[in-house]
Amino acid sequence: MIKYSTNELMAVTASRLLEDHQNIVVGLGLPQIATILAQNTHAPNLNIIYEIGVVNPASVDMGVGIADSRLWYQADYFTSFVGTLGGLLQKGLVDVGFLGGLQVDQFGNLNSTLIQTGNGIRHFTGSGGAGDIATYSKNIFVIMRHEKRKIVNMVDYITSVGYYQGKTSRQDIGLPQCSSVIIITNLCVFSFSKEDKKIQIDSIHPGVSLEQIKENTGASFLIPAKPRVTEEPSKVEIELLENQIDPEHQYI
């Protein structure tokens, strides 16, 4: 049995979903770690895009965000927002967009803007490129903590559209199709049902019970007859993460 942390499991799970030669829009943290892990294992030819205008960096130091030049080191190309989110993303060249947020709902819509409280709203980061990434990426991968207030039936604000109101509603309002929305939490992986586009358990992390997921989820979700168990990381993956990719354990 190999020892690993939950964050490592989440990074490995995301990494394995990436395929070689894909173009990925990435943010700081676990998405970045997952992408670098994939580059070092099964997908050496991934292309990394940061919305600020950076393509294919090969960072050797962690930074505080995509505005940190540590994340721009050895890039292939510098451009503008229009260059990344327009020329690459909007043109349809992005296979995977990684997103996070304050809330996600039963149809995969994401909120990174505001929370309704009894006392009015609390305003947070807002969209940045998130809304655009959800509009145009062929696959939307979400990494977030599994909490009742974060996985809900209806988000307080739609910053980024997943399957909108389910079924074909996303295309019906004029948005491009998306092939998948995957949510990776610290308890499980969620995907969306084929027809209704409703949130469903895809796999449950080792050692986690269905009860635990039910207790910590604010949205109703579909449960397959025999839920899969999320595959555990390999020794190679954990060694790469701990010795090479995030040796200071900032994110794993």
């Binding site: 600020i52 451009t79 989110l85 305003h123 807002g126 998130a130 809304g131 655009d132 200071e248």
Partner: protein, 311 residues
């Protein structure tokens, strides 16, 4: 040869005291035109209509100093240092008008402005609450309509922005206003869309130098209105190839910007009570610390610090 070089205080005096329309070029904690913004705060500009693609420290300072009437942006933060506390509170308490876009949609409005086209169609924003709110506020810059080319195909139409002023910070310009931006150039369409572009730069170089490397010029002199030389003009935010962000001050700022009283103390101490940007540098860090921010040219940041600065 036209010389567009001007002193900072003089340049800021050219911005109207009341109701100016300004686009800022910062991104979170990098290349914010801090020196220019601090001087606007000292000169007590009021009722600004402020645009910024990604809200940053510069905008948060202006909002906190009560200079802003309307803020049009696509969200923002101080990266992992923290939130835009003054912007968020002004939105929560409804003390400032706000229009929120996505990064691409606001950038496309600047792109349209920079190209002199009246509007640009896109699919982004469809289905979002940004779109719902923009339409409900009747801001008259965003509409949903059927594509003129495809039956039953909905598009979002975004009106061009041509702000009265854009203010960006860059590494290099000559006296004519040929500007070299090194690193990613998220602010280029915004800069090119303005009626009057002010640029603060780390260094003014000769036109002869520019003519050696015209391929490096991001913005031609024709598009530039004023050039102001302000070394460390983006401090405490970073400038690629020049200096790193200064963690200590941004951390201090992120601790106080969630609270009006503490923010006002910060504002008095570091901006209002000081006479200029040199004074700001002297009061907020030591010479040793400033020298430590200098980048390793191979990396574009101070590589010996690795992933983090000393606390």
């Amino acid at each position: 040869m036209s010389n567009k070089v001007i002193e900072l205080t003089e340049a800021v005096r050219e911005i109207p005291q009341d109701g100016a329309e300004i686009a800022l070029g910062g991104f979170a904690i990098t290349r914010n035109p801090i020196a220019f913004v601090n001087e606007m705060i000292r000169q007590k500009k009021k009722n600004i209509t402020l645009y910024e693609i990604i809200g940053s420290m510069d905008a948060d300072l202006l909002v906190g100093a009560n200079c802003v009437n309307t803020f049009i942006y696509s969200g923002g933060s101080l990266d992992r240092f923290g939130r835009l506390g003054r912007v968020n509170e002004a939105i929560e308490r409804n003390t400032m008008k706000v229009e929120e876009y996505s990064g691409l949609s606001i950038s496309l409005r600047f792109l349209a402005g920079s190209l002199g086209i009246p509007f640009v169609p896109t699919k982004t924003l469809l289905g979002t609450d940004m779109l719902t709110n923009l339409i409900n506020k009747r801001n008259n810059a965003v509409k949903v309509m059927n594509s003129p080319f495809l039956k039953d195909d909905q598009v979002v139409v975004l009106k061009a922005i041509n702000p009265e002023f854009a203010i960006i910070h860059a590494q290099i310009a000559d006296e004519k206003g040929n500007i070299i931006i090194e690193g990613p150039k998220w602010d280029i369409e915004l800069a090119l869309s303005a009626k009057k572009l002010f640029v603060t730069v780390e260094q003014i170089v000769s036109n002869k130098y520019i003519k050696k490397y015209p391929e490096k010029v991001s913005i031609p002199s024709i598009s530039t209105y004023r050039v102001i030389e302000v070394p460390y003009g983006a401090f405490p935010t970073s400038v690629y190839h020049c200096y790193d962000y200064y963690s200590n001050l941004i951390k201090e700022y992120a601790r106080v910007n969630g609270d009006a009283v503490q923010f006002n103390e910060f504002l008095q101490k570091y901006i209002l009570n000081l006479k200029d940007h040199s004074d700001f540098l002297l009061k907020t860090c030591t010479l040793d610390e400033l020298l430590h921010l200098k980048v390793d040219p191979e990396y574009g940041y101070p590589a010996e610090l690795g992933g983090k600065q000393d606390d």
